[in-house]
């Protein structure tokens, strides 16, 4: 949360009450860099335990695709968490936004760009409603968004049955979209030309027929990286970022200092809902269909990723980059086991143990380096 930027050396009066600290120590003070230690541990583990194909280019892409979708949610969730609130309806929002999006395309025959805009707008409005209820009633956001978890999940089922005439899966989205360049912003692979060139020059693996094994980077990964960058910049460098930390740290103190607490919180809820809608759009376009169980328990995973990344559940502390690494750790652990020879019955034991070890290691390293106790 604190800044690394340096004051011009001339203005620093050396204070005898300040020990010299190494760059490493001061880096480790940042919430997200603890998560890097966790990531290193997990990678090291798999390096020895898993099949080598896990660390091939295509293996990495396999891990990044789900990690990036989770990551988009985790970044928004961690911003909301820094702002002192929760949103448990993210997962249901993914399903509901998927329904809205698919319904607009298939049932109402709207063009893609209208469907995308309307879905995002709709999600933002729903998020803002969530936020307004929390603010007006001063009920905990946990319970309010929990109600929305159920409501949105239920509405998705009802809506899907209505839209399909009885099924829980809405399909035909690829046909409805057709071939537009907008679609390539949200689905499929990016940098395909570059990868084709790499393959031509034998820099990456290819199939026998000359097609590169990895034809590009999933678009969701590009969104994921882009959003982490933007979120980090907003949190660390802008006024809104300062407000988010303030609101989560102590809403009363922030209000007393003139921070528009309610607007910040409402905005964060809208943002989280939009992130869910974005994931919905990406997955629906990729899969060509949507169903009633999309996004199930994603709210949970997003919070896990944010917490692994060092965000405090009580608000006021955390980082977007932390959520970035948290999502990658979670993705790595949950996909990684398939590359090992462990019996899959042990999957959950393994997932839990790795999560615990990752945060313990992170914690241990941070304390060692910074000398906290």
């Amino acid at each position: 949360m604190t800044e690394i930027s340096r004051i011009p050396a001339t203005s620093i009066k050396t204070d005898e009450r300040l020990k010299k600290v190494s760059v490493l120590t001061s880096l480790m003070r940042r919430p997200e860099l603890g998560a890097v230690a966790g990531l290193l541990m997990v990678v090291t583990f798999f390096f020895f335990a898993a099949d080598a194909s896990m660390f091939s280019l295509s293996g990495l892409m396999t891990i990044l695709a789900p990690a990036s979708q989770l990551g988009i949610l985790a970044i928004a969730a961690s911003m909301l968490m820094i702002g002192g609130e929760f949103d448990l309806s993210i997962g249901s929002m993914v399903a509901f936004a998927g329904l809205i999006f698919g319904g607009l395309l298939v049932n109402f025959g709207q063009p893609l760009w209208i469907a995308i805009l309307f879905t995002l707008l709709f999600a933002a409005v729903l998020g803002a409603v969530n936020g307004q209820i929390v603010i007006r009633t001063r009920l905990p956001s946990f319970i309010v968004t929990l109600a929305f978890l159920f409501i949105l999940r239920g509405l998705t089922l009802v809506g899907l049955k209505w839209a399909t005439g009885g099924s829980t899966q809405l399909r035909g989205i690829s046909d409805a979209v057709g071939d537009t360049s907008i679609a390539s912003l949200f689905s499929g692979l990016a940098f395909q030309g570059f990868f084709a060139w790499l393959a031509e020059n034998d820099l990456i693996e290819k199939f026998d027929n000359g097609v590169p094994k990895v034809a590009g980077v999933p678009v969701s990964v590009v969104w994921f990286v882009g959003l982490s960058g933007v979120a980090t910049w907003v949190l660390l460098r802008t006024r809104v970022g300062n407000w988010i930390f303030a609101v989560g740290g102590d809403a009363n103190a922030a209000r007393n200092s003139g921070v528009p607490v309610d607007r910040v919180k409402t905005g964060l809820f809208a943002l989280t809902a939009c992130a869910a809608a974005l994931v919905a759009i990406i997955t629906v376009l990729d899969a060509g269909s949507t169903d009633a169980r999309r996004g199930f328990q994603k709210e949970f995973e997003a919070i896990i990723a944010a917490v692994i990344g060092g965000s405090l559940l009580t608000g006021g502390y955390g980082s977007a980059i932390g959520a970035f690494f948290g999502a990658i750790i979670f993705g790595l652990v949950s996909i990684g086991l398939t590359y090992t020879t462990f019996d899959s019955d042990w999957f959950q034991v393994f997932l839990g143990t790795m999560l615990l070890l990752a945060v313990l290691f992170n914690n241990f390293i941070r304390r060692k380096v910074t000398g906290e106790r």
Binding site: P66, K161, G166, Q169, R294, T338, D345
Partner: protein, 288 residues
């Protein structure tokens, strides 16, 4: 007086398989002119399900439809219903205990033998190494499907536990395939949640057609793949009938005291390339 029938199953209304059962129940209720309620616990939860049966018995319906994935846990509640004089028909799972608990008859086909039939078929198609994609480990009916498959298949079978998220399923299948090149058979336990992403994963690694992908239950897109020769087959339990028939039976029982004399097997029905095309539309409407 209105005839009221209650169905309590272990499958949630948003589960693709059970939503078809529910469609069967509602269609049949309309056809027979009776009132029907479909209920299921929020997760695969035998304790909650027995409580739902208790609540249903308390409302004294004219007929009760139940699935019996755990006879020990549900038995006492079902026996209570029978003792209260409510006619009970069991569906889907529990054919072995249905009679003993006092149900009039059983409609359905148990998951284990469906899995076994599929396994045998895939073995015939030349499979040696298979994976079974389970989207809800611990749900006994899904576990039975896997076990049946594994017993019928004969070769090596690994279970791949996944979630409901298509991106994750696809990634995990891809990972499993690249970690073990020998895999030549994939059995998915749900068409849209597991089957479709598995097909996508196979396509990603360029092995479409070389790996036999089969699934339990139907989805329109999976059937299209079957039709196109990209997937092997889909197992249809015709679960629509598991909802439709008992409702009609119980309605007739209430009206005229009529009831069939024995169990009704509703499946399995393997949908292969030759039949796939005609089923696509019905599947999209939640009838198959």
């Amino acid at each position: 007086k209105d005839i009221k029938i209650i169905a309590v199953t272990h499958g949630q209304a948003n589960d693709p398989f059970w939503s078809v059962v529910k469609n069967g129940v509602t269609t049949s209720a309309k056809d027979a002119g009776v009132q029907v309620d479909y209920r299921a616990p929020e997760t695969f939860d035998m304790v909650a399900m027995s409580q739902l049966i208790d609540a249903a018995v308390n409302q004294r319906p004219d007929g009760l439809i139940v699935s019996i994935p755990d006879a020990s846990a549900l038995g006492p509640s079902i026996e209570k219903a029978v003792a209260a004089g409510i006619p009970v028909i069991s569906i889907n799972s529990g054919s072995d205990v249905s009679k003993k608990l006092g149900a009039l008859l059983h409609v359905g086909q148990d998951e284990y033998s469906a899995g076994k039939a599929a396994g045998e078929k895939l073995n015939q198609m030349g499979g040696k190494t298979g994976i079974c994609i389970n989207q809800e480990v611990g749900n006994v009916s899904l576990d039975l499907r896997c076990k049946g498959f594994s017993d019928g298949f004969g070769g090596t079978v690994t279970v791949l536990p996944v979630s409901n998220d298509p991106a994750e399923v696809q990634a995990k299948v891809k990972a499993a395939l690249s970690a073990n090149n020998a895999v030549d058979t994939i059995m998915a336990l749900g068409a849209s949640t597991a089957g479709e992403p598995a097909l996508a994963a196979v396509k990603d690694i360029g092995k479409t057609g070389k790996i036999n992908v089969a699934t339990f239950d139907l989805s329109a897109d999976f059937l299209k793949a079957v039709d196109a020769g990209e997937a092997a087959f889909a197992i249809d339990q015709q679960q629509f009938l598991q909802g439709y028939l008992p409702t009609v039976f119980l309605a007739n029982n209430a009206k005229y005291g009529l009831i069939p004399g024995g169990n009704v097997p509703s499946g399995p029905n393997l949908i292969t390339k030759d039949k796939a095309a005609q089923v696509v539309e019905l599947s999209a409407q939640g009838i198959r």
